[in-house]
């Protein structure tokens, strides 16, 4: 008989997993276990406030609180009653777990100062590497950033990063510029954030010209924890961020988290701990590997909104720092403007004063949750604006390489596109995935879909998903321990299909997309039912229920030549549309979304009266007609 090989260990194919995420506001604990059929299921999930700040200043306390609450809910014994951590491995029904994985963004997450020679080239590449590692980029410094030396010095001192990523120079190129940056860093003498009031050595990762490595090491090694990795930009035409990204994540574990309040204790309890955004990024990559790319994912947090996209197999991440729904709420309001938030408030009436106070109180009491329909609608309005701003930020980051030498010939001498063009687009996305507390706590799935669609305005045919229980961090952390188990968690538990949105766009000038004009001819055949044919006009929003796991035959034809469903103006689409918790969403409100009176303002030559309604108000009617609900009063429902 052939040797079957060794049995997988408890962490290689665990029967039970405890997933922890120490967020900036809350610490979450989730328990997964295999059912009788061997399928991994989510047993329970609980939150507790993160305790990295005074008076407790011990992240492990918040973790134990969250796990204790999970024990009460699930009936499992998870905490080691006689010791300091968890019961591992699982020793019986509802007793112990085989694996514990953790992620963290507590204390602000991983904060990195990026330094590069040229702002638009090596510094930008280094910024992408840091973002990909799950960091918040506190500041970017470059030789050509326009700041004077003393301003750069002052900035480096003020930032208090967790680590510095230094890049610059292609291999074999100039050495002096990046050496100068190293001298500047040495002169500034930056202190690591968790050094408290005492001295500390800051991790510095050098990812620049290999010919400069020895000189830079000599400059920095005595005053820092210095390490070097292969050049992020070995040639102008290529970018290799992975070595820098992995080194930063490793340093995060070994040094940054080791000095954060009692993280050593937490690290001793778990199989792995990585920055939360890095884990979410891994999960998004897994989604793209399964569904195909491009894929767009968003994580709306309390302090930041992260956007991930996968294009041609490459993961990109951007962070809209200080654009969030609690700590970042006031900054979000300042950036987008009160009017842009209030336009989404359909079901509630806020005075300007009360509105501003409510947003301010959310910022200064970030752990509070919306209890009334009014408060919920306000948070969901903020979420839409957070998505708008963060998407704009993402487009800036996700660009082709700049400075790439391009060969010219007679064929393209007058027609060569510039380098550094945006790669990210809302057209022809395979999928959009939403994550974050505001989505997890949304009472109704249609509200999640509404936030994603209104905030990102996807075009064409796009599948929508969301991470119902904020489980993506667990998935990403588990991927480093057992990729197969991570896939089970992702597709079995974390990724909840919402359905498919069909959003036609009018290309070209003229009034073809005016309210009420014909937009689409639709033939919809749910499984086991006859075909329903109907027309959709511009300005309409309609939901056709189609449960998760079901696919319906869909034929959509533009009613006008300028209408684009993703395949080009005038091109029809037919195929099988995937269902979800909401179903098929036909969104003919147009792109970009416009508010009443907007087009008439300053465009006196508009020929067709345009009495369009508030696009946010259309959800209520669409939900009612689809029989979805019960929709919470005031939550987008007038």
């Amino acid at each position: 008989m052939a040797d079957a090989g060794p049995e997988p260990g408890p962490t290689e194919r665990p029967d039970s997993i405890l997933g922890l995420d120490c967020g900036s506001t809350t610490t979450k604990a989730a328990l997964y276990a295999r059912d009788a059929g061997g399928r991994l299921t989510l047993v329970g999930r609980r939150d507790s406030p993160t305790t990295v700040e005074a008076p407790l200043e011990d992240v492990a306390v918040g973790v134990r609180e969250a796990v204790a609450a999970l024990e009460e809910t699930t009936g499992w014994t998870l905490l080691d009653p006689g010791g300091d951590g968890f019961l591992k491995p699982q020793s019986g029904p509802c007793r112990g777990v085989d694996a514990v994985v953790a992620t963290s963004s507590a204390g602000g997450g991983l904060r990195v100062l990026v330094a590069g020679v040229i702002r638009s080239m090596t510094a930008e590449s280094a910024e992408r590497a840091a973002l990909g590692a799950g960091a918040i980029v506190s500041e970017v410094i470059a030789i050509d950033d326009g700041r004077r030396p003393h301003e750069k010095l002052e900035l480096i001192r003020q930032v208090e990063p967790d680590m510095i990523l230094l890049a610059g120079g292609v291999d074999g190129g100039n050495v002096s510029h990046v050496a100068h940056l190293a001298e500047l860093i040495l002169t500034a003498g930056p202190r690591p954030r968790f050094a408290g009031d005492g001295p500390g050595r800051l991790p510095i990762v050098f990812a620049g010209n290999r010919d400069a490595q020895a000189q830079v090491r000599e400059i920095l090694t005595s005053e820092s924890l210095f390490s070097s990795v292969p050049n992020i930009r070995p040639r102008l035409e290529s970018e290799d961020v992975l070595p820098a990204r992995l080194e930063m994540q490793d340093l995060f574990m070994r040094h940054v988290m080791a000095h954060a309040p009692n993280y050593r204790r937490l690290v001793s309890w778990v199989e792995t701990i990585i920055p939360t955004p890095a884990a979410v990024g891994r999960a998004v990559e897994m989604v793209a590997q399964s569904l195909g790319d491009p894929v767009l994912a968003v994580d709306i947090g309390g302090a930041t909104t992260d956007v991930f996209s996968v294009h041609d197999g490459v993961l990109y991440r951007s962070v809209a720092a200080s654009v969030g729904l609690s700590y970042g709420a006031l900054n979000l309001l300042a950036q987008t403007g009160a009017e842009n938030v209030r336009r989404w408030l359909v079901g509630s009436s806020w005075s300007e004063t009360r509105f501003a106070d409510a947003v301010g109180n959310k910022a200064i009491r970030p752990t509070t949750l919306p209890e009334t329909p009014e408060e919920l609608e306000l948070e969901q309005a903020l979420a839409r604006e957070a998505l708008r701003l963060s998407w704009a930020r993402h487009i800036e980051i996700v660009v082709g390489l700049k400075g790439v030498h391009q060969e010219r010939d007679l064929g393209n001498v007058f027609d060569q596109p510039p380098t550094g063009l945006p790669l990210a687009s809302v057209r022809r996305l395979r999928a959009v995935v939403g994550s974050g507390g505001v989505l997890s706590h949304a009472p109704e799935p249609w509200q999640v879909a509404a936030i994603l669609i209104d905030g990102l305005e996807p075009e064409g045919m796009t599948r929508l998903f969301f991470d119902r229980g904020f489980l993506f961090p667990n998935v990403g952390a588990m991927a480093g321990v057992s990729p197969e188990t991570a896939r089970e968690m992702l597709f079995g538990q974390a990724l909840v299909p919402l359905g498919t949105v069909v959003a036609p766009v009018h290309r070209g000038a003229g009034t073809g997309a005016a309210l009420g004009r014909p937009c689409l001819e639709v033939a919809f055949t749910p499984p086991g039912e006859s075909t329903r044919r109907f027309s959709l006009a511009w300005g309409e929003l309609r939901i056709l229920p189609l449960p998760a796991g079901c696919r319906a035959r869909l034929e959509v034809s533009p009613a006008q030549p300028g209408t684009d469903l993703g395949g080009g103006p005038g091109e029809a689409w037919e195929g099988m549309a995937a269902g979800g918790a909401v179903g098929l969403i036909l969104d003919a409100r147009g792109r970009p979304l416009r508010w009443p009176g907007e087009e008439l303002r300053g465009r006196a030559r508009e020929e067709v009266p345009d009495h369009r309604p508030n696009p946010a108000a259309l959800w209520a009617d669409a939900v009612r007609r689809a029989g979805l609900g019960p929709a919470a009063e005031g939550a987008g429902v007038p």
């Binding site: 900036s24 609980r46 939150d47 507790s48 406030p49 305790t51 700040e53 005074a54 008076p55 407790l56 200043e57 306390v61 609450a69 009460e72 809910t73 204390g107 602000g108 904060r111 004077r148 003393h150 001192r157 003498g189 954030r193 009031d197 005492g198 001295p199 720092a321 200080s322 700590y327 970042g328 006031l330 900054n331 309001l333 300042a334 950036q335 300007e352 004063t353 501003a356 106070d357 947003v359 301010g360 109180n361 200064i364 009491r365 970030p366 752990t367 509070t368 949750l369 919306p370 209890e371 009334t372 329909p373 408060e375 919920l376 949304a442 009472p443 109704e444 019960p630 929709a631 939550a635």
Partner: protein, 399 residues
Amino acid sequence: MTAGGSYLSGPNIFRDALVEIVRPLPFGGEVLAREGQVVDPDTVVAHLNPGGHLHFVNVARELDVPFHMAAGCVVKAEGETVRRGEVLACRPAALGLVLAECRSPADGTVERIYPSGLVTVRAYPIPVAAWVGGRVVEAGAGDRVVILTKGTLIQGVFGLGSEGHGRLFPLRENRPPPGGLPAGRVVVSPGPAGRGLLDACLAGRAAALIAPSCHLRDLEALGWDPGRPDFGVSKRKTPLVLVLTEGFGEQEMSPPVYEALAEREGLVASVSGHTQLRAGVLRPEVIVPWGGPPSSRPVGTTPLRVGRRTAVYLDRTCGPPRLQVGSAVRVTRGTHEGSRAVVVELPSDPRQVASGAVLPVAVVRLEDGRTATVARANLAASDGTGAVRETAGSGGEDR
């Protein structure tokens, strides 16, 4: 979640506490105070950057003149003192009609003038005041000074401005008295601070204002920028040091907080409006020393950190309160926002609230006797996590 629930949030209030305050020197410095020294708020305990920052001024570039001419444009001599913004160098411009000027980036001394026109200015050391009266218990290592004091400590939820101190001036209602406010006082308002009171404090040059609440838009009118990420530790001068104990809106001050301040009327209060909400939470603080400086740190007791720079010596049986049946709480959001209540039940399963969300909740009895179901996340300790309690070591030798 039943008994022994999660920790309750809430700013701290200690009516009679031994408080340690750290005065850090973030870039190193020279400690001037000595251990055991009794200080008052204005005592300079250290200098930041005793060597001073060295600023480089490239006169040739600033004035757009050739290098060989730049030194001739400098109007100061080596060793001469300069103020920030003072003219260092100049040359005629616009056919002699105006002077192009180059100014000093800092207060300090002109250290060197190079032939190329590069000027180095050595900035003055920055004095660090004690800010609070007490006794220095740690004064070494060049990176911090620790001051121990005995008195009342109150932490607010949001603040503006930097540091100030002055004699406590509690108001009987949330408006200035008919005769106006005496200058330099720390004003305490029992009710929300409207524009009238804010303006009166500004006009009266109050050292600080402690109020339960105010409208966010009123603060914007004072020049505050709410869009500053994480608020940040305020570096630019805002015209008023402000501490809010409840938040934005029209909440009244919690009676125990008002009483703790009112009973110290006339005593010097040290107020810090610094607020930072993540990655090192900093809440605004009010410390009112009374009864004389303590002689030394209590032996065998580790203080509880209640802020980034503040610690309190507690009875070892005390600790941050937990949410449990009988907890005195304040509702921070929702229909009953601002109400004080007592927890009567902690259901173990999450329940649906008015918004439709399913959340862990508590059943509370409000002051008017009604019960209400409130999300646990929307409850804070009513009288602060310190619960207006006495502390260990309050029997210091010197009073």
